[in-house]
């Protein structure tokens, strides 16, 4: 029966097409490709640092197409949970590792190094329809966000503001941004009111604030700069006037106390592998460009130099 042969031929063609597509053929479009390097570098952690590491992983693949670099988003805390048991090789972090996490790593025999990759200015955000709020003092922020806060209307924040109720958006407790904000604003780590819309995914927060004209939220600066038209940035006054986060104010730390460094943590045992070392050197070589491209503030070149030195000294002698 001819129809059967036609169906058979189509089926074979389809399968052949899928198989052909499915071959991980080496990418020969770039002269600099090195398809001889193989391996997997498992990365997870902060959603704040994710855009940088994602950009690095994407560019790295163009040079080393056969090194697999999956980058997950579990929050800084969620990432460290996997890192300290050896599930991941690199952990993105928007705060320093905590003593309890260091202890867990030591228990599992995991050694690691910390590398700073860029600066973030943790940004306070409202909806663009908000035309009455330009600046908040750190005391006002504390009054809004402290545990058990009774501040629920704009007028409770400051006299002269409208009497309408606001809704709060922020990262969840697995987030390094949450840890950093509570520590620097409430002065007590992890102390926060809990009646707010929490998400580990900053994009969810952007959508929330962008669609709610009585919204107030906070997250990393890159997420503001990638959706400027949907959001309004609020200046922060810590005693020396209202200051907006920007490349300059984050870089010279006048945007205080919410300027902070971002890190990647690297498992030292994994660092012995050539592909991990090459990935880290690629990361630090391209950080200035890529950190800027995704909307953060790059470190001074000397600090990336320190990072490279740390990588090569931790790796130990080549074997």
């Amino acid at each position: 029966m001819p129809t059967r042969y036609v169906a058979l031929a189509l089926g074979i063609a389809l399968i052949a097409g899928i198989v052909a597509l499915g071959m991980n053929e080496p990418d020969t479009s770039l002269l600099a490709t090195d398809s001889l390097l193989f391996g997997t570098i498992e990365i997870d952690g902060s959603s704040t640092v994710f855009p940088i590491t994602q950009a690095v992983a994407e560019e790295f693949r163009k040079v080393h197409p056969n090194v697999q670099v999956p980058v997950g988003v579990s929050g800084t805390g969620g990432g460290f949970k996997r890192f300290v048991v050896g599930e991941t090789h690199i952990s993105n972090a928007s705060r320093s590792i905590k003593p309890i996490e260091i202890a867990a790593a030591a228990e599992n025999g995991i050694e690691f190094i910390e590398i700073a990759v860029g600066f973030d200015g943790l940004s306070i955000i409202t909806n663009p329809a908000n035309d009455f709020l330009e600046c908040l003092t750190t005391d006002e922020l504390r009054a809004i966000w402290e545990p058990g806060s009774e501040v629920n209307h704009w007028s409770d924040v400051r006299d002269g503001l409208p009497d309408s109720k606001f809704r709060l958006y922020g990262p969840d407790t697995d987030s390094g941004t949450f840890d950093y904000f509570t520590e620097s604003i409430i002065h007590l780590e992890d102390a926060s009111r809990s009646d707010y819309s929490a998400s580990a995914d900053d994009n969810v927060l952007i959508r929330g604030v962008g669609g709610d004209k009585n919204a107030l939220g906070y997250f990393g600066y890159a997420f503001y700069s990638s959706s400027r038209e949907k959001l309004k940035l609020i200046a922060v006054d810590s005693g020396s006037g209202c200051i907006y986060p920007s490349s300059e104010t984050i870089n010279d730390s006048t945007y205080s106390p919410l300027s902070r460094p971002m890190f990647i943590y690297v498992n030292t045992a994994a660092l012995k592998r050539v592909e991990v070392m090459k990935f880290l050197n690629f990361y630090l070589d391209n950080a200035t460009t890529l950190v800027q491209e995704v909307g953060y503030v790059p470190l001074p070149e000397a600090m990336y130099q320190d990072g490279r030195a740390l990588v090569s000294s931790s790796r130990g002698p080549l074997n």
Partner: protein, 319 residues
């Protein structure tokens, strides 16, 4: 009594053919009394009413689907080309592609089929052909029906605890396939049972009468007859697995992948998770990319369903 009064009999029918037959009878030589004429008008109106009601039910479903398809097509067709199918995800919307998710979905579907078909069909054959009348068998049957209604996220949590953590399969294709197997097994079992039940009892009796034992009856008579029903059921169950995001979000988690799995122990992502990821990105370009992803997912689902229909039509007439 009904035979003596045909008009009353046909009044119970609501189809328009029945109504017209009744009308013709009334237009005969003896004009009917006025009351019957009223009843006829009323019947016609009732007929129209139900036609409109049921047509509206169909229209709501079709309109919903049409709205979805048109919305997705207008947003996504511009982003849909071969390079979209053949590229990995990117931080730039214009360079993003669905390759990793498409091949992840193929891996998961094939893996799920490999586990679910033998186990599911085997269970169905046992329950229909071999199992004795026993309360324990009825209990198993009842539980299978209940499992078919369990929300898919529950299977995701189960898979995460059981396969990813307890069996230490990590977030691999194998763990994903096994989780999806649990999800579709009840459907495969129930559909296969229905197909086996539909084989006439006389066929079995005839085979038994020729001296065949139970296994021979199943192998040579019941199973070949039931294959078309079983196959189309399996494909529909697999197309459910293709469209599920929730359990795969638990297993694979949100992850940026620039490679396709080359073995069952590799990391993966699937179409619905990739689409969910793109939809959540606030940058405008990604909405078109997400829509293009939805078109691909719809195409995969429609072709699976067409295969199911084709198999049913092709083989049903054979016997």
């Amino acid at each position: 009594m009904e035979h003596e009064q045909p008009p009353i009999h046909s009044a119970r029918m609501t189809s328009s053919i029945a109504a017209s037959v009744t009308r013709q009878r009334h237009s005969g030589p003896t004009p009917p009394p006025n009351s019957t004429s009223h009843r006829s008008t009323w019947r016609r109106w009732r007929d129209r009413f139900f036609f409109v009601l049921f047509f509206a039910s169909v229209a709501i479903g079709i309109l919903g689907l049409a709205a979805l398809v048109i919305d997705v097509m207008t947003d996504g067709l511009g982003a849909l080309d071969f390079s979209f199918i053949n590229s990995y995800p990117s931080r730039h919307a214009g360079e993003s592609g669905i390759r990793a998710a498409l091949f992840g979905t193929i891996w998961i579907t094939v893996g799920t089929a490999a586990f679910a078909i033998p186990i599911g069909v085997g269970t169905a054959i046992f329950l229909e052909e071999f199992a004795p009348e026993h309360w324990a068998v009825r209990l198993v049957q009842l539980n299978i029906s209940n499992l078919a209604g369990v929300p898919s996220i529950i299977y995701g949590i189960l898979g995460l605890a059981l396969f990813v953590q307890a069996f230490a399969l990590d977030r691999s294709v194998l763990a994903g396939s096994l989780t999806m197997t649990l999800l579709v097994l009840p459907i495969v079992i129930i559909v296969s049972q229905e197909a086996i039940k539909a084989v006439p009892g006389e066929f079995r009796d005839a085979a038994f009468a020729l001296g065949a034992n139970r296994w021979q009856v199943v192998k040579t008579v019941v199973f070949p007859q039931a294959i078309p029903g079983i196959m189309s059921g399996i494909i529909l169950a697999l197309s459910r697995a293709v469209g599920e995001a929730a359990p795969m979000l638990m297993i694979s988690s949100l992850v940026f992948l620039t490679f396709i799995p080359s073995s069952p122990s590799d990391r993966f992502t699937v179409l619905p998770v990739q689409i969910f990821n793109w939809v959540s990105l606030p940058q405008p370009g990604f909405q078109a990319v997400a829509s293009a992803g939805i078109i691909i997912l719809l195409a995969v689902l429609l072709s699976l369903n067409s295969i199911a229909i084709w198999i049913r039509n092709r083989y049903q007439t054979r016997y």
